[in-house]
């Protein structure tokens, strides 16, 4: 075995079964996969390390960098291959960008590739984050540093609410009628359960899932959102 997964060439949109043409052109669409030489693991690590270290400002940046690195700079994936890993990562709980890195790694180099891509994305940024955390703690011990942090903390609250606001706005943008009401109800319900009633957040997540499964299917004309097929549309966080 060359370390490649057995079936690395699924259709870009998982909602539609692959056509014969899709299968036939798969080799052409995934040049890296049909290449004689598989992607080298150190190169895979470096590519994702670069993405991680340049990702200032959150998820949207990481996604754009990952797309540039995979499609344009390294030419390991084409847009459809990237969109496929993007869509899959959004179907799964957890940190989507980490999942997408693992999925891309697996598509390129099997299990070893998945591990290396994930480590590449996470390790260098983690080291910097640790250094920063230690620095923050020593800053807090100093009265001037403590004053700076006291200014930053309320800003964190405002930013968290702002991010929630943007997520809500983006989510409801393409919804109308009763579907929109269901979303609004679930957002309000989540806030009320955790923020006001202090119900366990795990319970709130489960309740939202069950209510969503029932209510969204009852709302007329609201076919469940298909997984996005073009990468930089459903951006997770600003």
């Amino acid at each position: 075995m060359d370390g490649r997964p057995p079936n690395p060439l699924p259709p870009a949109s998982s909602a539609q079964p692959a056509t014969i043409d899709d299968q036939r052109s798969a080799q052409a669409r995934y040049p890296a996969l049909s290449a004689e030489r598989p992607v080298a693991l150190p190169a895979l690590f470096l590519a994702f390390a670069r993405v991680g270290l340049l990702s200032f400002g959150g998820g949207a940046t990481t996604l754009v960098l990952m797309q540039q690195e995979m499609i344009e700079r390294r030419r390991w994936l084409d847009a459809r291959g990237f969109a496929f890993t993007f869509a899959l990562s959004r179907m799964y709980p957890g940190a989507h960008l980490l999942a997408q890195a693992a999925l891309i790694g697996h598509v390129l180099r099997g299990m070893a590739g998945a591990v290396v891509a994930l480590l590449g994305l996470v390790l260098p940024s983690c080291l910097i984050t640790i250094v920063f955390t230690v620095f923050f703690l020593s800053l807090r011990a100093n009265p001037l540093g403590a004053a700076v942090i006291n200014g930053i903390l309320p800003a964190t609250a405002g930013m968290t609410i702002a991010v929630s606001y943007r997520l809500a706005r983006d989510t409801m943008q393409d919804e109308r009628g009763r579907t929109r009401l269901v979303t609004l109800f679930l957002i309000g319900g989540g806030f009320t359960l955790m923020g006001l009633l202090e119900v366990s957040s795990v319970l709130a997540v489960v309740v939202a899932g069950v209510l969503g499964a029932v209510l969204y299917q009852l709302a007329p004309g609201s076919a469940p959102t298909p997984e996005p097929t073009i990468p930089p549309t459903g951006i997770e966080e600003p």
């Binding site: 699924p10 998820g59 996470v122 920063f132 700076v148 930013m159 702002a162 989510t171 499964a213």
Partner: protein
């Protein structure tokens, strides 16, 4: 708190959430309310650190883990979110079948919407914990407006807020 339990808390928070920033509510619930492991101030500080440092969303779990149990806690937290991410590989086998089940798609959508409500709650709870003066409230409101309605960089917002904190101290002192 032993590390295995800490790992499990982070694992649970990640596997029950959609997207990098969504484990926040569960972590806040588990670590500050159900167990007195972390103050609201530390929690807010961890979020700020996560926003300042480069890296994919969700690495705020690192400072949270660090505040609870030092370096080992940070490693446990990072391992937990990576384990969840790694387990997504199972979708390479299951995705075609799952995507056709309407109830699954609707349920995921419900969790996403509910989770937005939970992040509103996190912001609200941090607000209650960190706003003690009219200046604090003004900083929070300005940060909200800048991030919600403009494209100002997070670093600028946090830097400005830190400067205001410093000015307030020097002014009062």
């Amino acid at each position: 708190m032993d590390l295995a339990n800490l790992f499990l808390i982070f694992f649970k928070a990640s596997i029950l959430s959609w997207g990098g920033s969504q484990p926040l509510p569960i972590l806040q619930d588990e670590l500050t309310r159900q167990r007195p492991l972390l103050s609201d101030q530390d929690f807010a500080t961890a979020i700020a650190i996560g926003r300042i440092t480069p890296g994919p969303n969700g690495l705020f779990v690192l400072p949270i883990g660090y505040f609870v149990a030092g370096l080992a806690g940070a490693v446990a937290a990072t391992l937990a979110i990576c384990t969840v991410a790694f387990s997504s590989l199972i979708l390479l086998r299951l995705h075609a079948r799952l995507a056709r089940i309407a109830a699954v798609a609707a349920g995921i959508r419900g969790i996403q919407a509910g989770a937005i409500g939970l992040t509103f709650a996190v912001g609200y709870l941090i607000l209650l914990a960190t706003v003690h003066s009219p200046l604090d409230l003004a900083i929070a409101a300005a940060a909200f407006a800048l991030i919600a309605f403009t494209r100002v960089d997070v670093l600028v917002v946090l830097g400005g807020a830190g400067a205001l904190g410093l000015i307030a101290l020097l002014h009062v002192g």
